[in-house]
């Protein structure tokens, strides 16, 4: 790759990632039907994540803005026709992904393991608090957190730590989307807390997985990193 003015490269990267976002959002290809009454699980936030990871939080912010705007313009339910729900949270998708990636990029396996452990403890404490108000929710959060952490540990053994860090950053970005959008929805009175948690879990978890899978595939393809170097023949 020849050397480009970094600014130009950022503009162009933001441009084509935004184009993919628009395409996915407006044609509703970026929607995977999930059996809940609310929106579909989305894939359209992934370009914002990738933008943040590849070019930094500002580009992530811009693409997130575009995503939010497209989501708002093409929304057909009141929930997403509210700009505070559709646009504002989406600004942060790319930012959190970028920051997590930056933090994890130079992390060794041990650092990552420690960070996962800390987050896990937080989540377990949180799930305990939650179970005081909504009984069934606490154990579910706890189970998911433990399962997630266990998976990350298992995966770290077999895979390049950069890939795992990439996946985690993508997961963070996806969760930002889910958590913030649902929080604003609750604050604005569109959903009850319980409904929000229900949607959050049924959508959020698959979205995190898909975001991680796609982000890793794309970034690895673009940057030629990863343990698989050839076809599976």
């Amino acid at each position: 790759m020849t050397s480009y003015d970094k600014g130009t490269r950022r503009v162009i990267t933001a441009g084509w990632l935004l184009a993919i976002t628009l395409l996915l959002t407006l044609t509703r290809t970026g929607m995977i039907p999930v059996p809940t009454p609310a929106a579909n699980a989305t894939v359209s936030h992934i370009p914002a994540i990738i933008g943040g990871i590849l070019e930094g939080p500002i580009v992530g912010l811009v693409i997130g803005l575009g995503f939010g705007f497209a989501s708002f313009m093409s929304a057909t339910i009141p929930l997403f026709k509210d700009p505070l729900v559709a646009v504002l949270p989406r600004l942060f998708i790319g930012v959190t992904a970028a920051l997590s990636y930056a933090a994890l990029q130079r992390a060794s396996k041990r650092t990552l393991a420690v960070m996962v452990a800390i987050v896990l403890l937080f989540l377990l404490a949180f799930s305990y608090e939650v179970s005081k108000t909504i009984a069934w929710l606490g154990p579910i959060i706890a189970i998911i957190s433990v399962a997630g952490a266990a998976f990350i540990y298992w995966w770290m053994r077999r895979e390049d730590v950069r890939i795992v860090g990439l996946a985690v950053a993508a997961g963070v970005g996806s969760l930002t989307n889910t958590v913030l959008v649902l929080s604003v929805a609750v604050l604005r009175g569109y959903l009850s807390s319980e409904a929000a948690w229900g949607i959050g879990l049924t959508h959020g978890v698959p979205e995190v997985i898909v975001a991680a899978v796609v982000t890793v595939a794309v970034v690895a393809a673009l940057r030629q990193i990863g343990s698989r170097r050839g076809s599976r023949l």
């Binding site: 595939a217 393809a221 170097r229 050839g230 076809s231 599976r232 023949l233």
Partner: protein, 287 residues
């Protein structure tokens, strides 16, 4: 009379029905292809060749009006077993970089074969055969990143991907546009070999009349979504109405023969390929 592999009658189709952008693509197209022949589909741009081909492997359906029968199945019926049909019909698109979607060449070529449910060694064998047929060395190319290939290599890889499924019917949508003459003649040789040795039936959509003259057994001419002429290639190209009426140029061989006849140098029969013209000239020369 050999088995009819494809029969299309009175086919009509429009894109984006019900929107302000509705365009009619087919207005009564007809096509008949017999087993083991190379059938050409010609027509000016926008005549509906690509659309017609897409009905043959059920990418487009059901038909607004008309019948499409492919390999004995009604390809326009909603109850069609699409999976089964697509295992027997392969479609190669015009732009190879539109077709390659796997990260590594080997995986892309193997994709179709894997979808057929073959075992890993069988898949490998198919891929090896397909890549050899198109002239790509298996070991050199299987681990290359698809987007690092040159245009010609991508084209071959795309073709190999379809061949690896060993389809009975092979559809080529302007697959030679943009190829250099060497690449084109290699592809022609390959198609002839597939017809003769593997018994494949080929439908070739093309704008290139010379190519059609060299290669095809039968020709169907589309214009404005309608079939305006069809039949054995010699009949169509030497017919009285001529292709000019349809806005297509003749193959250069036919042009040469015509020009020679005008000057009183008549060649016997209806030569189509360069070889035939050459032989005809030899025969017609005074001893």
């Amino acid at each position: 009379m050999s088995e009819t592999v494809v029969r299309v009658a009175g086919l009509r189709h429009a894109y984006m029905v019900g929107t302000p952008m509705e365009t009619a693509a087919l207005r009564g197209a007809e096509l008949t292809v017999s087993r083991g022949e190379i059938a050409a589909l010609v027509g000016p741009d926008g005549a509906g060749k690509s659309t017609l081909l897409r009905f043959l492997n059920a990418l487009l359906r059901p038909a607004r009006m008309g019948q499409v029968t492919v390999l004995g199945s009604d390809a326009a019926a909603p109850s069609l077993d699409v999976a089964a049909l697509r295992r027997r019909v392969g479609l190669v698109f015009q732009y190879p970089h539109h077709q390659l979607f796997e990260r590594y060449v080997g995986d892309d070529v193997a994709y179709g074969a894997r979808q057929l449910g073959l075992s890993a060694p069988e898949v490998r064998e198919r891929v090896a055969w397909a890549m050899a047929a198109v002239g790509l060395d298996l070991d050199a190319f299987k681990d290359r990143a698809t987007f690092s290939l040159s245009g010609g290599e991508m084209r071959r890889a795309a073709l190999a991907g379809v061949l690896a499924m060993k389809p009975e019917l092979l559809l080529l949508d302007e697959a030679t546009t943009g190829l250099d003459p060497g690449g084109r003649s290699e592809l022609h040789t390959l198609l002839r070999r597939l017809r003769d040795l593997e018994g494949m039936t080929v439908v070739l959509a093309s704008n290139d009349m010379d190519e059609v003259a060299e290669l095809a057994d039968s020709v169907t001419v589309l214009q404005g979504g309608r079939t305006v002429a069809a039949g054995p290639v010699r009949d169509v190209f030497y017919s009285a109405d001529g292709l000019q009426a349809v806005g297509l140029t003749q193959p250069s061989t036919v042009g040469i023969v015509g020009a020679l006849r005008e000057r009183g140098f008549a060649l016997p029969g209806e030569p189509l390929t360069l070889a035939e013209v050459e032989e005809g000239i030899w025969r017609a020369l005074p001893a």
